[in-house]
Amino acid sequence: MENIMKFDLALVGVSLIALIIAVGYVSPLVIAPLDDYESSDGNVLFVIEKADTLMIDDNMEFSSPDEYNIEDGLKIDLEPGEYYWKAVGVLGSEVRTLKINSVVSLELVKVKDGFGVVNSGNVGLNVEVYDGDELVDKIKLETGDVVETDGDKIVGGAE
């Protein structure tokens, strides 16, 4: 009788090990980005295995998540802000956070007859153009937009 009990105990142990292995096998393997990832580049590469869907939201409850099918080399363009994300397959992964820093950036470039100003940051800008101390123009400049200008001082701040 004792042998039966020993055998049964061993069986339970093996079953538990099998269960742990099975759960481990189907848990999403989240490789990148790391938790608390922070960058000024909004183009984020997600490397995830054993999951079907990537969910990204700006709140931990994932009340209105953006959902993406997971594929190799999945890159997503994110606006500046703080995000919560997780991978979902048979089981869900841990919730990780990432932050895209907002950047205000202006570039002066040569255009046809003069020069232009480019919004090279990642947020829309209110740009003020001064000639001396006089404000001569106010422009809204979206990311990547270029506008020709002839002021001598150009000031850019987030919208």
């Binding site: 009990m5 079953s15 950047v103 570039e107 150009i154 701040g157």
Partner: protein, 394 residues
Amino acid sequence: MRKLMFLLIGIFMISSVCALGITPARTTLDFEADLSRSVGFEILNSGNEDMKVVFSAQGELAKYISLGDTEASISASEGSKAFSYNLNLPSELIPGLHTGEVFAMQLPSGPTSEGSQILATLAVVTQVHVYVPYPGKYASSSLTIYNANQGEEVVFVFPVVSQGEFDLTAVRASVDIYNKLNEKVDSFNTDSIAVMSGARKELAYRWKADVPIGDYLAKASLIYDEGTLNLEETFSVGSEDLELREISVSGFSLGEIAKLEMLVENKWSESISGAHVATKIMNDRGDIVSSFESATYDVDALSKKVFVSYWDTAGVRVGTYETEVSINYGDKSSKKALKFDVKKNKLTIIGLGYVISEDGGESNTLMIVLISVIVLLVLINLLWFFLFRKKFKR
């Protein structure tokens, strides 16, 4: 000669990029009486030039901002450089939003002779926003609606910010939906949520769009402990959608130009103009072996139209090819994955009307069943083990 040199230097300077950046664009804080806090920011030298930058504070909060440095030098080798300013808030500010700005202005550096002078100065701004809570309970919100197709779920999202001194204990929304004739077609109430003072939470509701395709208006009342906010937003049921229904090919002969007639349905209640079909045919490795586009067509509301494409099959071998057919209109694109089975005198299109893509659902279900069975077996075994041991002891 000297004049020409200045001119060349001048052209070189104008052609080169002059750049200045700052991060973050904005720092947001909740008001605390007599708060003293160091706020960090970085100057980005994306042009990789030696430069001098001067800092100044402006705006309503300028008097509470003290700058650590008023001028700084950044060398060409420094991609960015960190700075900070101190924000020393008073004991009181009136409720609402208060703003301030720190300006970073690039000074011309190096020789400033006529020919080499940079023609404009750049300045960038990092903002500071301080929110002072309103007395009592106060909520602010907006309404965002995510469109869906007919029969699917339209998602209504109310991001609620509790801007009062006290927590909001119950925030809910009551929504009425109207069609274009201003007739109420449905109503619903969301669940109630609590939002702590200074926190932001989302109130979300999934509404099944069992209504005809078209545009709708949602009139929402966001009801919280001590007040109501009225919000309105339009949304669409059944996206502006063109769908590929059929592809027919007659008289196909490998090596010649094939005429593909693609039947496209406009499921939208308005006509769609300037649409065209782009087809990409790929080999086993996913490389595009052939691609072609149709002319542009206008498709009337809720009607079908044949888009004609021509495929030059010269050099194409017999076989089965993964094919992506995309219908492009405006800034939208509707894609369909098909397979082209190419034979010498026959082209068979596989995949219209059903999904070709491999579905991992079956294996997932199998794994769930497997885990459930293991759990069940372990539990039964444990139960049996303990019962048996009890009996054995007696």
